[in-house]
């Protein structure tokens, strides 16, 4: 840094450095004999145990841990493959029997199913895995309780029994869930210690399942690499390797997809999806959603205790307008609390077409001829909450109801909707079932004991139907009950129902085979790349 030399060459030198750097920067693309799927996601998962959820865990656990049973497949009208919610077939299990009184299910496992470590799936693995979930007292335990499972016991090498406290129609569909996962307990146990009997620490950075994929390398904050399980019991997947790359910026992810540097991006936002439409560098696949855009009304708070008021508000909403403005035209009108993709979905009880006159009539009948004032609470938990709140508020004002949008924090909203609290009269929230089962859905969202029944809706007739349905194993009988329940629910109108936004996946145009799953995570096993 001396004299004339420094000043000008300082600037020039830096420019030259930059120029050279850019000029020689080659994209690192090398052909590889194996097929690799490059996924750009918000974050690398920080744990691989379905019972110890961390951000990102749910995306990868279903790829590694597969279940005793799975949903069948059907071809939709659009030629695409969908899951068939009415058909459950064996997967890790070959067959099963249920006792007369419905409280004991015995599964016979397929023989010769090996994990990447070379250990065979036995009934011991199933028993161990469920005991782990029971012990952890988390999501797996919750699923077990909801399905009435009390204990799991290995009867022989390949036979395992589930003992239920009462018959449960939810049990079999619940087995398709990612949790409780089925672990290669031989391998996992080898990493257990006295303080850590379930090897939970090892499971944070390793996987040991019987599924199609297996965690190969993990570099926190950078990437996780999964490889196909060489011992997988079905055909080998197309993709030998999945590179799950952390790219925190949504804009960066979108750019990478457009340039073809990644094959798949995680959860594109609606705006990005709308922009991608018509761009042939990106393929957008969509499926009906399972989470409803709705405003919940708590009947314990006036004026929402009056069913006429609740119905009136439902008449006051222009759903097409909401779908256009909030979900950019990508939603379907919500006509039942049970989403369209779930078995037993019945839209026939929906009666609330946009009819502000009828709304005013009902309000007058209920004693509010000039409407009323209230607050509409929302948070930042999901992207659509704010625009939806604003739309609803504006539409309701036209029938004299002043619903002031009031924002609270996400954690406030969650804590206030906890079973012991539930003190929000009118609020917007998202909830949708991860099991494609109407009984599960109705129980969770609307039974007086349902964990997700955040607006404290309570109708003894409804409860009775669901209680009976939970124990009715015959599908026709069960669906008759759930249909009736949907009727009651829609008449009671505990929610201001609006729409089911479609869910989207964005991928490279040469990726095919995607099948929508209720947990909104793709299965890498399904995917293939086609040559043009």
């Amino acid at each position: 840094m001396v004299g004339v030399l420094s000043r000008t060459t300082g600037v020039l030198g830096a420019a030259a450095l930059l120029g050279t750097g850019l000029a020689v920067a080659l994209p690192a693309v090398t052909a590889s004999a194996e097929e690799t799927l490059l996924v750009a996601a918000t974050a690398v998962p920080e744990g691989f145990d379905g019972d110890a959820l961390r951000p990102g865990t749910q995306n990868v656990v279903p790829q590694v841990y597969e279940n005793l049973v799975r949903y069948g497949r059907i071809e939709g009208e659009d030629g695409r493959t969908y899951l068939d919610p009415s058909a459950i077939e064996g997967h890790l299990a070959e067959s099963w029997e249920v006792s007369e009184d419905g409280t004991r299910w015995v599964f016979t496992l397929r023989e010769g199913i090996l994990s990447p470590y070379g250990n065979e799936l036995t009934a011991d693995d199933v028993e161990w895995s469920w005991n782990k979930s029971f012990d952890q007292q988390r999501t797996g335990n919750f699923i077990a309780r909801v399905s009435n499972v009390e204990s799991v016991e290995a009867l022989s090498d390949y036979e395992v029994a589930f003992n239920l406290s009462a018959p449960s129609s939810i049990f079999l569909p619940a087995l398709t869930l990612y949790v409780p996962g089925i672990y290669d307990s031989t391998e996992v146990r080898s990493h257990a210690t006295d303080e850590d009997p379930w090897a939970l620490e090892w499971l944070e950075t390793n996987t040991a399942g019987f599924g199609a994929y297996h965690l190969d390398t993990l570099r926190p904050d950078e990437m996780a690499v999964f490889v196909a399980n060489p011992n997988y019991f079905r055909d080998q997947p197309f993709f030998d390797r999945i590179v799950y790359r952390e790219v925190p910026s949504a804009a960066s992810r979108a750019t990478l997809l457009l340039t073809g540097d990644v094959d798949w991006i995680d959860r594109p936002a609606v705006q990005q999806v709308v922009e991608f439409q018509g761009d042939d560098r990106v393929k957008i696949e969509d499926s009906p959603g399972r989470a409803m855009v709705a405003a919940w009304m708590n009947p314990n708070f006036e004026p929402f205790g009056d069913v006429r008021v609740r119905q009136a508000l439902n008449y006051a909403i222009d759903r097409e307008e909401i779908i256009d403005s909030v979900t950019r035209g990508t939603g379907d009108v919500a006509m039942s609390v049970v989403p369209p993709i779930v078995d037993g979905y019945d839209p026939s009880f929906f009666a609330y077409d946009y009819d502000p006159d009828r709304a005013r009539e009902l309000l007058t009948e209920a004693g509010y001829p000039d409407g009323f004032e209230t607050e509409l609470l929302y948070s930042d938990l999901w992207w659509w909450l704010e625009p939806f709140t604003i739309q609803v508020s504006s539409q309701l004002s036209e029938v004299g109801v002043t619903a002031t949008p009031t924002r609270i924090t996400g954690s406030d909203m969650r804590s206030r909707s906890a079973p012991a609290v539930r003190d929000m009269p009118f609020f917007v929230f998202e909830s949708g079932p991860i099991i494609l089962d109407p009984v599960y859905t109705l129980y969770l969202l609307a039974h007086s004991e349902g964990v997700s029944n955040r607006s404290d809706y309570s109708n003894p007739d409804f409860d009775a139907l669901i209680d009976e349905a939970r124990e009715t194993l015959d599908r026709d009988a069960r669906l008759a009950l759930t249909t009736d329940a949907q009727r009651i629910w829609m008449e009671d109108a505990p929610w201001l129902v609006a729409a089911y936004p479609r869910t989207f996946e964005a991928m490279a145009p040469d990726i095919v085979g995607w099948v929508p799953y209720p947990d909104v995570h793709e299965r890498w096993y399904d995917l293939r790349r086609v040559e043009d």
């Binding site: 961390r54 999501t139 925190p248 750019t255």
Partner: protein, 338 residues
């Protein structure tokens, strides 16, 4: 002796300062921030489940006891465990710190390499066309939002021109990183003679470093100019000119007299740019401490946020200390640095 006394006086203040920062952060995340319990509990959580998690995380204790426990741990080098990664926060931070420091170092280094000579030169010719240009460019650098700059650079140089690699981290996806010596992919691969990795690391560094350089150059130009101008107007220069010394000598005098304040300023810049670097890391998926800190804040990972802030505070303190110490050593006149 002067140095020792200086150090002692400084060190006495550091501990209460850091304590205060940690206390403030601690309370802030717990009172105002995200609630991690719901997130960790998952969508099907019952109240019992939520209580269990709260107990596990120690959140059911009164705030003050939580703080005292935490401080006690900090003094033994235990910064707690991240609730997201389950790893000790200290390990998480130490692993990622060199990654961010590398970016910061190259970025501010480049910015200073450009900014200081430019600043000195325009101070010598104030209001020339070069000065006007430099001022406009500097204004531009001041006003640009970091996130936007990063995305635009990616857009132009990667997406449109294809010159730069995708903003997908520190090294190409199919390149095997070098073994860890310093934590910097570039330096480590050069040290181990891995030319492919070195090349990949370098090409991935170019864009993010340039962004930081642009952002840091602007204030450096401005302040160097102001500082140098002061010196130009000062007695030393007037005396030199009056004595008929050539311009070259005058410039040298200016440079030597500007060194201390400019160095102090660059030190301030380094500490001030940590936030900017976090955003750049975010855009370029860099995987460093900044990204870690941002994630921790968003997810309500209290221990990680506290550890991150503590580390940043410590870093700032050390940088200032080094600079002031250097000033005390090299500056023959002052008995106390500014």
């Amino acid at each position: 002796m002067k140095v020792r006394r200086f150090l002692l006086r400084r060190l006495i203040f550091i501990v209460p300062l850091l304590l205060g920062i940690v206390f403030f952060t601690f309370m802030l995340v717990r009172i105002g921030g995200q609630d991690p319990v719901e997130m960790l509990a998952g969508p099907t959580a019952t109240q019992a489940h939520i209580d269990l998690i709260e107990r596990e995380l120690g959140l059911d204790q009164p705030l003050l006891s939580q703080f005292l426990i935490y401080i006690g741990n900090v003094f033994t080098g235990n910064l707690g465990d991240s609730w997201i990664s389950s790893q000790p926060v200290l390990d998480d931070i130490l692993r990622r710190a060199p990654i961010t420091l590398e970016l910061l170092f190259w970025g501010v280094g480049l910015g200073a390499l450009i900014g200081i000579p430019v600043g000195l030169r325009v101070a010598g010719r104030p209001d020339s066309w070069f000065d006007q240009c430099a001022r406009v460019v500097s204004l531009f650098g001041f006003s640009i939002p970091t996130y936007w700059l990063g995305l635009v650079m990616l857009f132009v140089f990667f997406y449109l021109l294809g010159w730069a690699p995708p903003g997908i981290g520190r090294i190409g996806l199919v390149v095997i990183p070098p073994e860890t010596i310093t934590g910097s992919y570039l330096i480590d691969s050069l040290l181990t003679g891995d030319w492919e990795a070195a090349h990949s690391a370098f090409s991935h560094l170019v864009l993010p470093v340039t962004c930081i350089a642009i952002i840091s150059a602007a204030p450096i130009i401005k302040h160097t100019r102001a500082i140098a101008l002061e010196v130009y107007r000062g007695d030393a220069v007037r005396f030199a000119r009056a004595s008929g010394l050539p311009r070259r000598i005058v410039r040298r005098i200016v440079m030597r007299n500007s060194t201390v304040p400019v160095m102090t300023f660059v030190g301030t810049e380094i500490t001030g740019l940590v936030g900017t670097t976090s955003l750049i890391e975010f855009v370029f998926a860099w995987g460093g401490l900044g990204q870690y800190g941002l994630n921790a804040i968003i997810s309500g990972d209290f221990a990680a946020v506290q550890g991150y802030v503590l580390f940043l505070a410590l870093f700032s303190v050390i940088v200032f200390l080094i600079i002031d110490l250097t000033v005390v050593i090299i500056e023959p006149r002052s008995s106390e640095a500014t």
